[in-house]
């Protein structure tokens, strides 16, 4: 049983016990991309916990009963299971492993109470829908081993939220009742600005573009849609900026020193109307996105943050699904012979976008 897998350990890359998100990050780390350091509390740890607490059977049963049940039933099943997960004792070897790993991470950071981000990383790709439903969690600025343990438990409990229980995989796929979860623990990046970057234009599907969305502060604002981000469109081939709109930003997600947790705070006045990224940073980010896409062999959707040192970090990578899953349609409907196309153009029949790409 391996309860802890480090992102920068060579064996971790793509290890399924890290869940989708962290396995990808381990792979990114191995490929030399700058990913905040950390470890995953593996699916083995989760299973060991359920087994030791005698909850494995209850978990399966909960899922089985929730299938096709009414909302009220689902909610009461969810509440019972969540209580059980949050109160059951954790096996000592699991707890020790997590404490040990956190201590090692804190030592690397040079701060015994180093703040970390604690995030769910689902085992099965089928559970992508669940993350959209908001049942997979990210907890920021978690500090100290006790807090880390508490938040790991919360992520585990998140597996039994009503939306996860009612989530149905795509038709034709086997329903799984036994999937597990990994919980990732990473150094907290107190982002100066952050956001997402797509390696294609999500609106048109144009693969020759990199589209960056970013805002001041943590990227939660962009991901949740709570903050209107600035948007930059960069040509992937030439790195020319082909579009940009800088949003005026009044508030941002950041550490609220009063509460010690993440909250909405005012953007310093002098930054409100300013672009959160410089021209050079936009270029660097577009280059990073392009390298990641090339490395992963398909269009990606990437979460990024700019650290206080001005360095770019990769927080998450996942395959773009909307355009990549759509059947490839001919882009331009026009005769194949160039001379005919040109002659038609003179007669007013221009190159037009094919159907489905309006």
């Amino acid at each position: 049983m391996t309860y802890i897998l480090w992102l920068d350990s060579p064996d971790s890359a793509g290890d399924p016990r890290l869940g989708g998100k962290f396995a990808s990050l381990a792979e990114m780390t191995a490929a030399g991309f700058t990913v905040p350091g950390g470890f995953g509390v593996t699916t083995d740890a989760y299973r060991a916990f359920l087994a030791a607490a005698g909850l494995a059977e209850q978990a399966r049963e909960t899922r089985r009963r929730a299938r096709g049940a009414g909302l009220e039933t689902v909610e009461s099943l969810s509440a019972a299971m969540t209580r059980a997960v949050e109160s059951a004792p954790m096996p000592a070897e699991v707890e020790d492993a997590i404490r040990g790993a956190y201590a090692a991470l804190a030592e690397r950071a040079g701060d015994p109470a180093a703040p970390v981000a604690v995030r769910s990383s689902g085992e099965s790709e089928d559970l992508a829908g669940a993350s959209f439903a908001g049942q997979y969690h990210t907890y920021l600025w978690v500090s100290g081993a006790d807090q880390v343990l508490a938040h790991v438990r919360r992520c585990w409990a998140g597996m039994f939220g009503p939306a996860v229980l009612t989530y149905r995989p795509a038709a034709g796929q086997e329903e799984e009742t036994d999937f597990a979860i990994c919980v990732g623990v990473q150094e907290m990046v107190p982002a100066r600005c952050a956001g997402v970057v797509f390696t294609l234009d999500p609106v048109t599907g144009d693969r020759s573009k990199v589209v960056i969305e970013g805002c001041w502060g943590l990227g939660e604002g962009v991901v949740s849609g709570a903050i209107t981000p600035s948007r930059f469109v960069v040509d992937k081939v030439t790195f020319e900026r082909v579009g940009s709109s800088v949003a005026v930003q009044e508030t941002m997600f950041a550490l609220d020193p009063g509460t010690g947790t993440t909250g909405l705070v005012d953007v310093p006045a002098e930054l409100r109307e300013q672009s959160c990224l410089t021209d050079d940073q936009i270029r660097e980010l577009a280059g990073l996105a392009k390298r990641i896409e090339r490395h992963r062999g398909a269009a990606q959707d990437i979460e990024w943050a700019l650290g206080p040192d001005g360095g770019l970090r990769v927080l998450q990578v996942r395959p773009e699904t909307v355009w990549s899953n759509r059947a490839r349609e001919r882009l331009v409907s026009s005769p194949a012979r160039a001379i005919d196309q040109v002659v038609a153009r003179f007669a007013g029949i221009g190159v037009t976008r094919g159907p489905g790409r309006a």
Partner: protein, 648 residues
């Protein structure tokens, strides 16, 4: 009545001073431009119409049509008020471009381009064909005729180059000399029966015909070339929304094209000078004659370099400082200061250990990388097939598109203007003019008449009328032209067009529906932001240097932003000192945008108003990615203008 019938003197009352029967429409922001009939004659320019032929002027008889059209100022080819003689170039393409659209191909959607001269400035008006039946009928002819050209392009282009070279050779052979007091003995004993008078007269006719011959070749393939490129461009814009024009052009434009040769020759001469140890001699003076004398005094190496210099000069220094459409666009060969300035710069670079060669291999590799990468982002095999076909066709037609410019506007036209000057010297020798340049104040048909007047005087031995007729007339025209020159023309007149379909209008002048809308809006807003065509990427901030005359190029200082009506490729030597370039006119394929991109200079062209809005010394921000020019601040003090260049 007019300049075309010089037998009668110009009318004493200019037409514009006559009361007009109806008020002419003023400009309405966002809706229309001022009527061409509403343009007032600048003070001191009264009677300007007499310098130009009747058919080039607005008239009450054609007012209904003239008032309903859209006219835009062709500052690209003729930034200044036209010299009467220079109308040969504009009148040539008035027919030569239009006939291709209407009679030769014909182009399904585009009719002829009409011309009018307003206050001495050339305004042109494209015509759209909108009747569906007409379009269909024209399209059938076009498919057959244009198809033939595209199918046999390389062969036809090879033939074109041969015709162009032959035309230039025949131009070169035309010589003008003052008439002899007594015919040489050989012309009598030879029994030819034709004398110097006949030769002078027919050489002039040959010269004029030679211009129209090259003028016809000029447009033989141009529309087709632009059309193939436009189709590829539109494919790219549909496939990669937002892709910039310069990127599309970079996939197609040639690397080893003739327009780069003059500058390449200067680089080679610089390298040879350093190799032969002549760098000191060439750097010894800013005056090309003195520098050449210093080289001539340097023994064998000097002679070797001079031989290389002479070889490079013909044809590569037949390189105009303007668009080549005006006689005042002097070529390098007439004014060696420009190439010598570049030469000194390259020699200094070589001495500092720089590699001054253009990185041809790297540019070629980059072009292939860019093309292959865009191709890889297309979704289906069919799209890639379309892309491959269109890029190949665009590359096939581009050598003509790019090189015709050197053959026609630079090599031929520069030589043509210099031949006209040599005819001007004949008039000076016979007492008609004080200066060879005065000939350009006469329309070509007036020159024909004046020449006959000269022959009469020579034949009869009695003072010709022209000796007393032309001096005051030329003085009058000079005054008028100066008055016209002091007034910048509006970028457009009349009614904004519903359709813009003429490929040259879009490609060359950058006249797009968006540009027209911008002009309509900006015209009255007084805003200090100019929009134009993003011709070359990048952003720069610097002090403006407004250049209206190539003569002023020597005023440009390091780090300045050039603001001009049009940039010319032969200005290349100053480009290395600039932070950016902005022009009033031009589209992505304006003769010069090509070179701007080559020099990696942020550039916005087709702004319409830069030279009339921006003053030398103002701090500008030029964004070559978005095509905007912003005036950041006024000049601090007149004497600081240009010195406080940012980014120098």
């Amino acid at each position: 009545m007019t300049a075309t019938s010089p037998q009668s003197p110009p009318p004493p009352t200019p037409p514009t001073s006559e009361p007009t029967p109806q008020p002419a429409a003023a400009a309405v922001p966002g809706v229309r431009f001022a009527s061409p009939f509403a343009v007032p004659t600048p003070p001191g320019a009264e009677g300007w119409e007499s310098m130009y032929p009747y058919y080039a002027l607005l008239s009450e008889d054609r007012r209904k049509d003239e008032d309903a059209r859209f006219w835009f100022f062709d500052g690209m080819h003729n930034p200044e008020p036209l010299y009467p003689f220079d109308t040969i170039a504009t009148e040539n393409w008035w027919v030569a471009v239009s006939q291709m659209s209407t009679r030769v191909w014909p182009i399904p959607l585009a009719g002829g381009i009409d011309h009018r001269i307003v206050n001495g400035y050339l305004y042109v008006s494209p015509t759209a064909v909108t009747d569906q039946e007409q379009i269909a009928a024209r399209a059938r002819h076009f498919a057959e005729r244009a198809g033939h050209y595209y199918e046999n392009w390389d062969e036809i282009y090879a033939g074109w180059e041969a015709k162009a070279r032959d035309c230039i050779e025949r131009l070169k052979a035309i010589d003008f000399a003052p008439l002899p007091d007594l015919e040489p003995l050989e012309s009598v004993t030879g029994g030819r029966g034709l004398y110097s008078s006949y030769d002078l007269l027919t050489r002039y006719t040959t010269l004029i015909n030679n211009f129209f011959e090259m003028g016809s070749y000029h447009f033989e393939m141009l529309n087709l070339g632009y059309g193939a490129y436009l189709t590829f461009r539109e494919f790219c814009q549909a496939a990669f929304p937002g892709i910039s024009d310069q990127t599309i052009a970079s996939m197609v434009s040639g690397i080893d094209i003739m327009l780069f040769r003059p500058d390449d020759e200067v680089r080679k001469l610089a390298a040879l000078a350093v190799e032969l140890g002549l760098d000191r001699a060439l750097l010894s003076s800013e005056d090309p004659d003195e520098a050449l004398a210093a080289v001539a005094g340097a023994g064998d190496p000097g002679a070797r370099w001079l031989a290389a210099f002479e070889a490079a000069k013909d044809p590569w220094f037949w390189f105009s400082t303007g668009a080549g459409y005006q006689h005042s666009d002097r070529a390098w060969i007439d004014d060696l200061r420009l190439p010598f300035r570049a030469l000194r710069g390259y020699i200094a670079g070589l001495r500092a250990g720089e590699d001054i060669r253009r990185p041809l291999e790297a540019i070629t590799e980059e072009r292939e990388r860019v093309t292959a990468e865009y191709r890889s982002y297309l979704p289906t095999d069919e799209d890639r097939e379309s892309f491959d076909g269109l890029v190949a066709l665009a590359r096939k037609v581009f050598p003509f598109v790019e090189n015709h410019n050197f053959y026609v506007e630079h090599w031929h036209h520069s030589m043509f203007w210099s031949k006209v000057r040599s005819l001007g010297r004949v008039f000076v020798a016979h007492g008609f003019f004080d200066d060879e340049e005065d000939i350009f104040y006469l329309h070509r048909t007036e020159v024909q008449s004046a020449l006959y007047d000269l022959l009469i005087g020579w034949g009869t031995g009695i003072e010709p009328r022209g000796v007393t007729y032309w001096r005051p007339e030329i003085a009058r025209r000079r005054r008028i032209r100066e008055a016209l020159k002091a007034h910048s023309p509006a970028p457009a007149l009349g009614v904004p067009p519903e359709f813009l379909t003429e490929p040259l209008t879009i490609m060359l002048w950058g006249i797009t529906p968006e540009a027209v809308q911008d002009w309509l809006g900006v015209a009255d807003s007084g805003e200090r932001v100019l929009r134009g065509v993003a011709a070359s990427p990048g952003r720069a901030v610097g002090r403006a240097r407004v250049i209206l005359d190539p003569e002023q190029l020597h005023e440009v200082r390091d780090g300045e932003i050039l603001v001009c009506r049009i940039t010319a490729p032969s200005w290349a030597p100053v480009f290395s000192r600039l932070a950016a370039a902005v022009s009033d006119v031009g589209g992505i394929m304006a003769h010069t945008a090509i070179v701007c991109r080559e020099y990696g200079l942020p550039s916005v062209v087709g702004t319409g108003f830069a030279t009339t809005t921006v003053r030398t010394g103002e701090l500008l921000e030029v964004d070559g990615d978005t095509g905007t020019v912003r005036v950041l601040e006024e000049p601090e003090a007149a004497e600081d203008a240009g010195i406080a260049a940012v980014g120098a």
